[in-house]
Symmetry: C2
Subunit: 625 residues, 2 copies
Amino acid sequence: MNAPDSFSHLLARTREPFPASCKSYLIGTRADLRVPVRDIALTNGEVVSVYDTSGPYTDPQALIDVRQGLGSVRGAWIAERGDSELYEGRKPLALDDGSKSEDAARLAQLRAEAAALQRRPRRARSGANVTQMHYARKGIITPEMEFVALRENGKREWMAQYQQDAAREQRLMGNPLGASIPKIITPEFVRDEVARGRAIIPANINHPEVEPMAIGRNFLVKINANIGNSAVTSSIEEEVEKLVWAIRWGADNVMDLSTGKNIHTTRDWIVRNSPVPIGTVPIYQALEKVGGIAEDLTWEIFRDTLIEQAEQGVDYFTIHAGVRLAYIHLTAQRRTGIVSRGGSIMAKWCMAHHRESFLYEHFEDICDIMKQYDVSFSLGDGLRPGCASDANDEAQFAELHTLGELTQIAWKHDVQTMIEGPGHVPMHMIQANMTEQLKTCHEAPFYTLGPLTIDIAPGYDHIASAIGAAMIGWMGTAMLCYVTPKEHLGLPDRDDVKQGIIAYKIAAHAADVAKGHPGARARDDALSQARFDFRWQDQFNLGLDPETAQEYHDETLPKDSAKVAHFCSMCGPKFCSMKITQEVRDFAAQKGLAEADALHQGMAEKAGEFQRAGGRFYVPLHPQG
Amino acid sequence: MNAPDSFSHLLARTREPFPASCKSYLIGTRADLRVPVRDIALTNGEVVSVYDTSGPYTDPQALIDVRQGLGSVRGAWIAERGDSELYEGRKPLALDDGSKSEDAARLAQLRAEAAALQRRPRRARSGANVTQMHYARKGIITPEMEFVALRENGKREWMAQYQQDAAREQRLMGNPLGASIPKIITPEFVRDEVARGRAIIPANINHPEVEPMAIGRNFLVKINANIGNSAVTSSIEEEVEKLVWAIRWGADNVMDLSTGKNIHTTRDWIVRNSPVPIGTVPIYQALEKVGGIAEDLTWEIFRDTLIEQAEQGVDYFTIHAGVRLAYIHLTAQRRTGIVSRGGSIMAKWCMAHHRESFLYEHFEDICDIMKQYDVSFSLGDGLRPGCASDANDEAQFAELHTLGELTQIAWKHDVQTMIEGPGHVPMHMIQANMTEQLKTCHEAPFYTLGPLTIDIAPGYDHIASAIGAAMIGWMGTAMLCYVTPKEHLGLPDRDDVKQGIIAYKIAAHAADVAKGHPGARARDDALSQARFDFRWQDQFNLGLDPETAQEYHDETLPKDSAKVAHFCSMCGPKFCSMKITQEVRDFAAQKGLAEADALHQGMAEKAGEFQRAGGRFYVPLHPQG
C-alpha cells in the first residue's frame, strides 16, 4: 500500500516554508512562552512580519512525527496551576468509532500505528474550575492570555515606516462600529475581555499542543475551516495533512466534522497534531453511536460523548441547545426548513418524543463538564436560515434569544462561550443579525457561516459568502466559518479547502482594515509600495498566496528578467502608468511642484472671478507651456 | 494555418445554449421590438425566465457569420427618426491601425477578409442632436427606451408563486438606500430617468446591432468586462469569440481596450458582431498614432480619433477630462501615484507642456462630436487611488468635482454621461465615494472598478473587489467594471475572464437583492426551492454557471441516479438535514402543528410565571412524550 507513503511526501511538501519567509518567535515573560510569527524578507532589505497560524509545521527546525504528535506548548502552564489532575479517564468503548466499524482488524491496526498519541487525560480537581474565563474573573493573567496579547500585536516595528504620515492615517482611520480596539493589546486587556465574555481563548487542558489564540470583536477577525475524515480512512498522514494544509493557508481554527467510521481514532490523530484549536459537533458522533437514528439519542449517550471528546482535547463544542421544542413549528413554512444538521437531528428528536430538547434541559450539566476541561461553547444555530428567503425569521431569532439566555448560564459557570450565526442573509439584512446578537447575547463573540448574500451561485458560494463575511466581520463578528466552492454541491477537495480559506482571509482582512485594527493596513501598504517600486517578487511574497501570484505573472511574462523590469505585462514597456507616474513625480520634484502649488492656490482664489466672467474653463497661464 | 479554423470551432461551442434553456423574445409595441430573455425549463414543469446578455449567439435559429456581422436591431428606428444621414465618413488613414503596423500585407489581408463589415457611417443632420437624452428631454419615448423597460421587467409571471407570502415579502423588503425603483418599469419611467441624467442608454447610431440596455441606479446593476486584442492578431474569429464568451457569462457591456497593432480593424470586427454596447478609451489609440509619446498628443489627433471611433459605432468613450494640470501635484506624495493609464498619459502631457489638459479645454468640442452620434461619456477617473492608502484623497475628490462640472456641460448638450469611480477603497470608506459622487455629479450613473477592499490578495483580486463592488452597487453604483484573478499580475485568459464575470454577477445580484429590485430575489427562491426539493438538475441550471455546478456535484456523486436522490454527498442518505426537515414538516402537519402552536402560546403566557418561580428551564408538558 502506497497511500501512507504518498501522503508522507505530500505532507513534507505542505510543510515547506513560504517563499522568502522564516519562522521567528516573540518571547514573553517566561522562556517557554514563544509566540510564532512569519518574517518575510523583502528584496529591499525590509522585513515584514505577519500573523502565523501554521504552527511548527513551517519551521524547518521542528521535528515532526505525526505518530508522536506535536510538542507541548502549554503543558507546564497547566500543570503549574495545580488545579487539575491526571486521571484514569473514561473507558474506551467499541462504539466510539461508530456502530458499524466493519473492519475491526483494520481499525485495530490504525489504532496501533498511533498508539503513541494516547494520553492520560486531565481534568479539574474536585470543585475546581480550569477555564480561562474563571482565571480572568479572578484577576489572573494566564500565560495563554499573554500569548494572545503578543500574538495579536505581532512585530510592530516594521509598520512604523508605513504609518509616518499623520494626515494619511487620519484620512484612513478605521470605523470600528462599536469595537474598542486598543493601539497595543496588553495581557491585562486580554484578561478583561475574557472576563467579561467578549472574547474566548479556546484551549482545552487536554490540548497542550495548542498555540493560544483569541476570538473576540476587539481582536483580529479569525477564520475557521472545516475538515472531515476520508470516506476510506487510509492513514494518519492523510488526515493530518488536511489539517496542516488548512492552517498553512491561514485557518485560525479547524472544526473536525468527521462522520461515519473511525471518528474517535481520527480525532486523536488530529488533536495531537494540531497547533490550532479544534472544534467538533458532538451530536454527530452521538448519532453514530445510535446507528443514525435521531430518536434513539439520549442524554446519557450525549454526555458520555462530551466526556470522551473533552478527554481527547477538543477545544470547543458546537451544541444546538437553542433548538427548543416550541420553536420547531416556526420552521414548517420556511422555504428550506431546517438546514443545520445538528438542528435537524434535535428537531427530529424533540418531535419524536414530544418533549423539550435534552440539550436545553441538561444545559447546566453540560456546563459542569465543560468547566472541568475548559471546553468552550460554540452555541449552535440549529435554526439558521438555509436560503435568503428564510433570513431573519421568527425561528432564527427565537433561537438566538435562547442562545443569549444560555450564554448567561454558561457564564455563571465561567464557561467560555461563542454564538454561531447564519448562514444565508441578503446584504441589507446583515446588520440586524449583528445588532440582535450583540444585544441578545451580551457581546459574546459571534461566529458566523458566511453569510451568503445570494443563492444563485452554486460553485462560487465562497465568493457569494465572502461578501457577507467581510461585512459582518466589520460589524463585529469575531470568527468567520469558511465556505468552499463545493458548498451545497459536494465534498471539498484539497484545492477547494484552499480556495475557501483564501476567500475568508480576504474577508477577515477587509474587516480588520475597515475596523481600523492597528497595523492591519500596513501589510497592504508594504505590498502596494512593492507594486509601485516594481519589486515583483516582494509583491508575490507579501500576498496571501505567493505561489499563485507568481504563477499568474509568469504565464504572461515568464522570463526571470521580467521580475525586475520596471513595467508589467498589462501595458508593456512604453505604456505603463506606474512608470509614467514616476516620471511625473520626478518632473514635479525637479521644477514643477512649487509652481504647480502656486498655480493651484491661484486658481482657487480666482475661481469666483472666472465664474463671474462667465469663463467655464481655466485659461492657462502658460499658453504654450 | 489552423488558427481561424480552430477558433471557428471554439466559437461554435461558445454559442451553445445553456442547459435546459431557450431564447425567447418579449414583443413590444412594434413587431421589430424583440427583447431577448432566457427561459430555463425546470424538471417540475416551471419555467424561470432570466435577463439575457448573450445576444443572438445563444439562439440556435440565428445564422451567425462573423464576417458579415450581426443583423440590425435598431436600424429602422434610427432611420425613421429622420434626424441623421449617411455620409462619406472620415477618410481612413494608415495610422488608424497604429504607427508600426509592420506587416502591411497581413493587415491588408485581415481587412479584406472582413470587407463586408464596412458600413457607411451615419451622423446627425446639421443642427440635429441624436442622443437618447435629447429625445427624452423632448418627451419622446424611443423604441430604445421601450426595449429597456421590457428588458428590465423581464417575464414577471413566473415570479408570482415565489412572492405569495406577504409576511415574507415584508420581512425581506429591500433597503434601496435612496434608489427609487418602481414595481414595474414603464417606458415613460425610462424616458424620465434618461431625461434627468440618472440613467444612460449607450447606443451609438452607428451600432444598430446593439440590444439596448440601461445603466442607472434605478435599474438592475450592470457589469462591464474588458477585452483586448491578442498579441498576434490571428483572426476575426478569435477576437469575436472573446466578446461572445464575455456576454455568454453575463457581461452587459464590453470595453475594447486593445492597444498596439491593427486596433482599428479589430474594432470593426468587435462592434459589428456585438449585441452589447462597446466602450473604448480613445486616448489609447491616439497614443498609438503618435508612437507612444504622450507629449506628442494633440487635440487634432484626439479629435480625429473620436470621429473615427464614433463612425465605427463605439457606444461610450472613457475620457479623462478631469485630470487637470492643477491636480497633478496632488498625486506626488501618494503611495502609488497615478495608476490610470489614461490619467497618467494626460498628466504627462500636462506636465510636459505646462498647460491645462486639452481634453478639459476642448470639452465642449467633444460634446459637439458625441451628440452627432449619440456616443455616451464615461468620464474617466484618471486620478483614482491605486491602493488602499491613497483612497479618498484630495487628488481623487478634486477630479470628481471636475467630473461633476463636466457632467453639467455634457448635459447642456444632452450628451449622456456616466462617471467612473475607484479602484482601491477599504470597506469603511466606500460610502463616502458614493455620497460624494451622488452629490457632486448630480446623480449621473456611477461606474466603478471594484473597488478592491484590500491589497494583499494578488491572484484573488476578483474576490477582494467583488466585496467592494457588491457594497457600492447596493449603495447606488449603476455599473461595476469587473476585475479578474490576473489583475495586477498579467493578462487574463479565457478562464480568468469568466471568473471575473461570475464574481461580478454575484456582486451585482447581491446588490439588486439588497436594494429590493422587484423580482431580483425570485431566482434565488426558485433555486433554493429546487435545492430543498432535491431537484439537482434545476439547482444547477438556475445558477450562474450550470456546468461548473454540475461538474462539482459529479466529482463526489457521479452517478446519474444521484441527481434524483433525496440526499446529497455532504451528509449521505441517513444524515441529510433537508431530508430530516421534510420529515419534521410532515410530522408537524400530521399532528404536531396545532399542538405546538398551543404549546408556544402557552409558553409565552407562562414565561413570567416561570421566571417568578425561579424556573430557568421549560418544564415539559409531556414528560415522556
